[in-house]
């Protein structure tokens, strides 16, 4: 067989590799063949018959979405017979279609509307009364309107193949065919909304967006999901300074169209009733609303006094604030407060990994590697729950490239179903369990290794040694918790490492040490809730908190500043694979300020000069001074993901080994933010659990 096939479509000569489906070959020549059920990346269905074309020397019309190109094929897409066939198909689809476009959520972006407009008859010949069937609610997220369904099977396929669940099925045949949920009358699933998004018509609608507005009424803002560290791009639909929906239909960003429930629906914390909208200052033991100038002055006065008497500061940064904010915060702590007591909630041992891989290039995995590499090893993580996008990539890799997946976890995971081999271990037996996979891994041409917090410290080096001993090229990634967990590390929110993992002269106290230090005088917590898990040993420290809500930590504060969330600010974040992407402010919540502005105002109030607090200017500084961050700006400004360069050089280990404890969020939790998302609270599956094999 030759490498190229020649065919003629509507008189145009076209070339395509053998095996290409006619529908795709023709598309590349700029000719459109209408389709409903054909969907790039999913299995073929040939259910809708919208793509019929004439192929010479075949007696009947052919289905272009399943027909591979052949040498010498002569195809006609623009003949009266084809037009007639398309009209007929549209007319059939509309026999019992309600055509209630004015109230249908899909109206304005409906593929059936478009097709009817372009290929359909102007009017209907069916005079019979249409059958009405009431809409059904399958879950807090998914609603189904049967008469609008055109039975294209896209929802079934995306849930089965894409999500690795089989939550949707079809029952009956012909006109009675109907999509059904897995629990008879309701769904038990990931509530990701992929099915809703992929539905070409308004048959599946979401509980969050239903009947709220119309697509053309919204402003669409592409930004990065704030929930987990995978860094999915989510395009937020905004109206009147309120986020109404999230999706990524334009497939921009590294995640394509994928989003889990958190990226798609859990933006609703932004308008939670308990959102802080004014600074709070403690007066007579009670937190009371205060003006910004009062609150800023209160903090500056106390900090200056504590600094003058040589008191001890502790600073805890956030895993969701931007790189610019993190960079500015550590600069503030080190230069203005004069302390290296700065840390954040660490969730993966990136520094040790970078050190173990020092001097190598091409040893750090990207999110794309999970889709492209021939084999993936997952150690100590319930990927589908904790890292939903990476799990999606892995499933797609198996589907499209027959990749081999290896799993070493303490309990059953969804990846077991597609895995070439799975092993279970007891805590402490992680590395030993890998020995059972050694022979199989050696036979792979290449490997990506993703590991959770079960592998830290020396175990990371042993894992890298194990990888080296396989004799195949291996890439690694340390799994992390939140949208900018990686950025917090890279920007030096660490007691012993500054930005770019450079050692500091005198290492400060770690998070645990600060909280356990009885003589701590001041604690500054930015977008974190350490007192939700730990107790504060010091009896009367001056606590300043910047957060969205009155968290357990904020309850202890002397001053609380209302911060803007990631959806309300601009800047950059770095995902777990070191891919930097830009946040775009979608809304503004009255009374709040971005953390960066709060830092800047505090610095000014203290009489310190840390330069201007503008994200773009600070990013320039980061590009110039932080190792690996000299990334091309055009990629960022056009909404792409720019890969940071690998480190080359030694990363010193902390003076005392600290236990890293990740949050291990499920699909339905998101640290202390999750409880303020109504969506994450109301779905039946919440809060979910790890290692249930689902």
């Amino acid at each position: 067989m030759s490498d190229i096939v020649h065919l003629t479509v509507d008189g145009k000569a076209i070339e395509a590799p053998p095996g290409t489906l006619l529908i795709n070959a023709v598309k590349r020549a700029g000719i459109e063949i209408p389709a409903f059920c054909y969907y790039d990346g999913l299995k073929l269905q040939a259910a809708c018959r919208m793509c019929l074309v004439e192929v010479e020397k075949t007696p009947k019309l052919q289905v272009a979405c399943t027909l591979p190109v052949a040498e010498g094929m002569v195809v006609h897409t623009d003949t009266p017979t084809v037009h007639e066939a398309r009209k007929g198909m549209v007319e059939f689809l509309l026999t019992n279609h309600p055509l209630d476009c004015p109230v249908c959520d899909k109206g304005g972006e409906c593929e059936l509307q478009d097709m009817t407009f372009r290929y359909g008859f102007g009017e209907s010949r069916f005079l019979e009364q249409k059958q009405h069937i009431d809409e059904k609610q399958w879950s807090a997220v998914v609603y189904f309107d049967r008469p609008r369904c055109i039975n294209c099977y896209r929802c079934i396929r995306v849930c089965d193949e894409g999500m690795g669940l089989t939550a949707l099925g079809i029952t009956n045949r012909g006109v009675l065919a109907e999509i059904i949920p897995n629990e008879h009358d309701h769904l038990n699933c990931d509530e990701c909304g992929m099915c809703i998004d992929i539905c070409p018509v308004g048959a599946l609608t979401s509980g969050m967006y239903r009947y709220k507005t119309r697509p053309w009424e919204m402003k669409h803002v592409g930004t990065i999901c704030t929930h987990c560290s995978n860094g999915c791009k989510t395009t937020l639909g905004v109206r009147n300074d309120e986020i109404i929906r999230g999706n990524n239909r334009d497939r921009s960003g590294l995640n394509g169209e994928f989003l889990c429930i958190k990226g798609r629906y859990a933006f609703d914390f932004t308008h939670h009733a308990e959102r802080l909208q004014s600074p709070l200052v403690r007066r007579n033991g009670k937190l009371e609303a205060a003006s910004w100038s009062e609150a800023l002055a209160e903090v500056a006065k106390n900090w200056t006094a504590i600094k003058q008497r040589g008191g001890r500061f502790g600073v805890i940064g956030s895993t969701r604030t931007t790189n610019e904010e993190n960079f500015f915060l550590q600069k503030f702590a080190r230069q203005v407060l004069g302390t290296n007591n700065i840390d954040h909630h660490r969730s993966g041992d990136v520094p040790t990994l970078l050190d173990a891989l020092s001097g190598r290039t091409d040893a750090l995995a990207t999110t794309a590697d999970f889709y492209e590499r021939k084999a993936v090893l997952i150690v100590g993580a319930d990927l589908s729950q904790e890292q939903p996008f990476l799990a999606w990539q892995v499933r797609a890799n198996v589907r499209h490239h027959n990749a081999h997946i290896y799993v070493a976890t303490p309990g059953p995971v969804r990846e077991d179903r597609v895995a070439a081999a799975s092993v279970r271990y007891q805590e402490g037996g992680e590395l030993a369990s890998l020995e059972n996979l050694r022979e199989k891994l050696r036979a792979e041409p290449e490997l990506v290794v993703a590991f959770g917090d079960a592998i830290q410290g020396d175990a990371v080096r042993q894992l890298v040694n194990f990888g080296d001993s396989l004799g195949v090229p291996v890439k690694y990634v340390a799994l992390l918790d939140y949208s900018n967990s990686r950025g917090a590390l890279d920007m030096g929110l660490l007691p012993h490492l500054g930005p770019g993992y450079h050692a500091v002269d005198t290492p400060g106290m770690s998070l645990a040490a600060m909280l356990a230090d009885e003589s701590l005088d001041a604690l500054w917590v930015v977008g974190a809730n350490p007192l939700g898990r730990h107790v504060l040993a010091a009896s009367k420290p001056f606590v300043v908190v910047q957060d969205l809500f009155l968290t357990d930590t904020a309850e202890h504060a002397a001053v609380v500043f209302p911060a803007a969330s990631a959806y309300e600010k601009s800047g950059t974040v770095t995902n777990l694979c070191g891919e930097v992407q830009r946040l775009e402010a979608a809304i503004k919540v009255a009374g709040t300020k971005p953390d960066l502005e709060i830092f800047g105002l505090l610095a000014r109030e203290m009489g310190a000069n840390l330069g201007i607090w503008q994200a773009s200017k600070i990013f320039e500084e980061i590009r110039g001074s932080v190792r690996g961050y000299n990334i091309p700006l055009p990629i960022l400004t056009t909404g792409g993901a720019a890969q940071t360069a690998a480190l080359n050089g030694h990363v010193p280990a902390p003076p005392r080994a600290e236990r890293i404890q990740a949050a291990h969020n499920t699909l339905f939790t998101s640290g202390s933010l999750g409880q303020f998302s109504r969506t994450l609270q109301v779905v039946l599956e919440a809060p979910g659990a790890l290692y249930q094999g689902r």
Binding site: V103, K212, W216
Partner: protein, 177 residues
Amino acid sequence: MKRTTLEFRMPKVNEVLGSAAAIVKGMSVTFREMMQPTITDLYPDAPPEFEERYRGKHVLQRDENGLEKCVACFLCAAACPANCIYIEAAENTDAKRISGGERYAEVYNIDYSRCIFCGYCVEACPTDAITHGHGFELAGYSTSDLVMRKEDMLAPVPEGAHFPLLVPTAVAGGGGH
């Protein structure tokens, strides 16, 4: 250069007759119209009369059961060249049913400081919910007075209709599983 001087000249007879005929012709129109009924409106002393298709202040229609016809499809707002229609949509429930469709307009404003009475909204409406009424006394002391709310434009509930439909809560609870 030739000088022109004004000098009196006796009119010719046919000129006199021509002028008289013109006056008679004009006055005949005047007298004929004097006999016709008057068409001048005595507004504001008497209510003005409108052509049926006069485009005045909008009326949001109800159906025979008193339900609002507007289903908040936003098509009028999309069609409006002055961008003066503002809508917020909400979902009808069994317990609280405002319109005939799944959705109704919780807020429906028209800004009459911007409306150009073009009628595009009326033409765009798929449910004939928005129509032009004959209201024209729209002057106000501030432009914010000119933003009319749904309540200012809604047609009255028809005689005998029960609106809002009150459903006993025990029945209304349903909806989904």
